[in-house]
Amino acid sequence: MRLSQAVPVLLIFSVMVFMLMHLLPGDPALAIAGPDASPEAVQKIREQLGLDRPLIVQLLEWFSHLAVGNFGESLTLKQSVISAVGERLPVTLSLSFVSLVVTLPIGIGLGVVAAYWRNSWIDAWVMVLALLGVSLPGFWVGILSVLYFSVQLGWFPPSGYVPLTEGGVGPWLASLIQPAVVLALFQIGFLARITRSAMLDVLDQDFIRTARAKGVDEWTTIAKHAFRNTLIPVVTVLGITLSLLVGGSVVIEQVFALPGIGRLIVQGILNRDYPLVQGTMLLFGFAFVVINILVDIIYTIVDPRVRYG
């Protein structure tokens, strides 16, 4: 059922991305030819790119290319969108991965702790921290963090990325830990708030009282009964968390000059390289449709009551 919904969603998304990029102001042919080119030269480039044909023809052609896995050629990078994305994907994936590893235990842990000691000073402090997490602009915290930890203390490199294959785990992690933690602040706040309210709901339920009344020790009650049920609503927001994470990394990559997909898209937009932007956005959309299906599958594992036909 989920799969049959995914197809129209992807179709609609593709058309939207296509339309969006053809709204972009400025003529890409003009941008490629340069300001000194003659009108004939610009016209020639336009014909080469197929930009002089009706929109619907361009759209259909685009779809026929997509069908065979061709996401187009970048106008400025002289390479295919797939290979451009492929080159930068490890950076964004590494950043998201490190950030997620920081986010999940801290975010869920803080939420559980706050709910367990509800209305205490612990709860109050955790909620203030969580609120700050979702209120501070990440790129600003990122710049401040570079000023302090890189410029002042010299603990981490201020920018750039060291691939895992080049320097091993140490330098790789050193180049990512700062942006990953900055990125995690928002996620931690978001996840802690959701976990806390989910846990409060569970703690109020009869089966927890039953478990306590029949003498199950407190740790087992919380870890086995309460925590597992808390995870159900938390899993549903996992897709949103990943989406926020990747969205946030688009901005954070600019701050730390990480050559990831976010930088690719922003540079594509600034250079009017619309096949590149189109193709990259589309790959993003495909990825998230798949991720959301996976989240649904995880959901059925965590909560066996739910079954998708």
Binding site: V9, F13, P137, F139, V141, I143, S197
Partner: protein, 293 residues
Amino acid sequence: MAEATILASGEAIAARRRFRVLRKLLHHRSFMAGFIIVAVMVIAALCAPLTGVDPNQMRVRLRFRPPSEVNWFGTDQFGRDLFTRTLYGAQLSLWIGLAVAVLSGVVGAAIGVLSAQFRRLDSLLMRIMDALMAAPAILLAIGLGAALGPQTHSVIIALAVAYIPRTARIVRASALVTRELEFIEAARVSGASSMRIMFKHLLPNASGPLLVQSTFVFAFAILAEAALSFIGIGPPPPAPSWGNIIAEGRQFAVQSWWIMLFPGFAISLAALGMNLLGDGLRDVLDPRLKVES
């Protein structure tokens, strides 16, 4: 006669309920904290002209002045007074936040109610909403903002479109529950039109979650607008948007840290205020999601 009495008492009950909600809000700590923060920022934004300084006036001799009694937040690389620019930035950012919240709220509510009422439209509208949600919201806003050109209204449209799907889903979920209640059945058999059911019954019953969601969208929009300006897709310079001031001050951040410091505080404070306000409204208006405080 009897009908008039019932009507009157109905209105009295509604008025009393409104009064009770208001009293709960007045006693809600985080709501009041958020309310005070937002109110102070709105007043500060409106008072911007009182400084008597042009936010875009350049004074080359006064470049890079650190915070002082004359320039409370210091001056930037063009010698512009940053306190004045931050106040005008508040006008711009709060206006964008409000416009995005209202626009995505109105369109999202309309889409949500329409899909709940007309089952045939439902699957089409929801697939479009799913498609809009396929890419991360900020990415969609970057793409749309770039396509529409660097202007204040294109930022507003881009962010509103990015947040419409979530609002639509929340309103739809609430309207689907309301639709199954008996009084809707009663309204339908007594000949109420779809229009009347949607706007007289479904929408008012979804107003709580809608208001809560719009408050959070306001907070998101302030953060996202700053991020878009920072990337270079916001209101064009020299517009004193908070994101623009930070982006311009970034290259001087090591020597002149004050340029980017204060607008960042302003963004954080505005987002914090709206989030607190939203938490309070959610506790009072949407007891299903009650988070005790």
